[in-house]
Amino acid sequence: MEYLAKIKKIIDDTEDLYIHKSTSDIKNEDKIINDLGIDSLGRVTLFYELAHEFNIDEDSIDESVCQNWETVDHIIEFLKDNSNG
């Protein structure tokens, strides 16, 4: 499954992580705060859910990296750089 599709699925599957639009409408260029409405707590939530899904070693990466995610593309870049299959 491609990265964007997996991100959409994780958002769908994570209770208490609500966004401003239907997940099917999420685009790569969407802004995390302004377009999706994900706050700082939501970004940390997404970090851990993604880390689990993409086999990323949470202890080797500072979670604060997620506070630099401005768009969905930034999340995808992070996953490409850090995922282990």
Binding site: T14, E15, D16, L17, Y18, H20, K21, S22, I33, N34, G37, I38, D39, S40, L41, G42, R43, V44, T45, Y48, E49, E58, E63, S64, Q67
Partner: protein
């Protein structure tokens, strides 16, 4: 030593847990429990992974998924997320349901009055539809009734005027709608573009004192654009704090208060009483 985490991430000045309550909690547990006061989302996972008790506003279940020692949570909200009450979970969950419903209802009425006054709408010709039958719905109905021609209700409760089989009929008969249901994926579907917005009466307005997440912002914006005399009066948005560039800001047909509805003058005293009761139960 057991660990109690006070989650105080909400930076809205009226929503922040007051220092007096934090001190009270610390005094009550004395030296037998380590109290950790958290004001930022960062490192929350490592802080909550071995917490025994948590007091604070709701947070995603992700943060306690791997916690094997959690004994109790007191959520400072009227709603408990579904994931927190799954049968296999071993910890107890308390909340402040009912403690502020009178305040929320009064704020709902003030938003309704604001809408009627500002938009020069004659309330005596209007039907207000209330979705839900919880404590806020019960509080607000008698307050609204004298202001409008009719109040109609819909919920799963048999005593409501409508059941959800007749949802579209209920929506098309309401001039102003108050959604007063808890937030989850099921209730969110009640407010979809396909079901909710397509069934609304032309020029219907919405008053939201429940949760911003119930609606998709684009659906609201589209509806307001297509209906000249429709308005959205709300106390709740998401995320909070709401971004300056958010679509609900500076919109001519949207009036917004800053999530103040539940915070009446005695609320923190009520919460303090509930907190002490809960702590005594936990520490028994």
């Amino acid at each position: 030593m057991d660990k109690l985490v006070i989650l105080n991430i909400n930076q809205n000045p009226i929503a922040k847990i007051p220092d007096t309550l934090i001190t009270k909690i610390q005094d009550l547990v004395s030296n037998s429990v380590e109290v950790i006061h958290v004001t930022k989302a960062m490192n929350l996972m490592s802080i909550l992974k071995d917490a025994n008790w948590i007091i604070g506003y709701p947070f995603p279940f992700t943060f306690i998924k791997r916690n094997k020692v959690l004994k109790g949570i007191l959520l400072l909200s009227v709603q408990i997320p579904n994931s927190f009450v799954a049968p296999e979970l071993k910890f107890s969950v308390d909340n402040i349901k009912g403690l502020n419903s009178d305040y929320v209802a009064i704020h709902g009425v003030s938003l309704l009055n604001k809408l009627l006054d500002t938009q020069n709408i004659n309330g005596t010709e209007l039907t207000v539809g209330i979705i839900g039958s919880g404590s806020i719905a019960k509080e607000i109905q008698p307050l609204i009734s004298p202001l409008v021609q009719k109040v109609i209700t819909i919920s799963r409760n048999k005593e409501s005027d409508y059941q959800f089989e007749d949802y579209k009929e209920f929506l098309s008969g309401s001039d102003i709608i108050f959604p007063l249901v808890t937030l989850n994926y099921d209730t969110q579907k009640l407010f979809s573009k396909e079901i909710f917005f397509s069934s609304l009466k032309k020029d219907a307005s919405l008053v939201n004192i429940a949760r911003g997440e119930l609606f998709q912002e684009d659906d609201i914006i589209d509806f307001l654009f297509s209906n000249d005399n429709s308005f959205y009066y709300t106390d709740v948005v998401f995320p909070e704090p709401y971004p300056e560039a958010g679509k609900l800001n500076n919109h001519p047909k949207i009036y917004r208060t800053n999530h103040v509805a539940g915070f009446g003058p005695d609320l923190w005293n009520r919460i303090e009483k509930k907190t002490i009761e809960t702590l005594n139960k936990w520490l028994k």
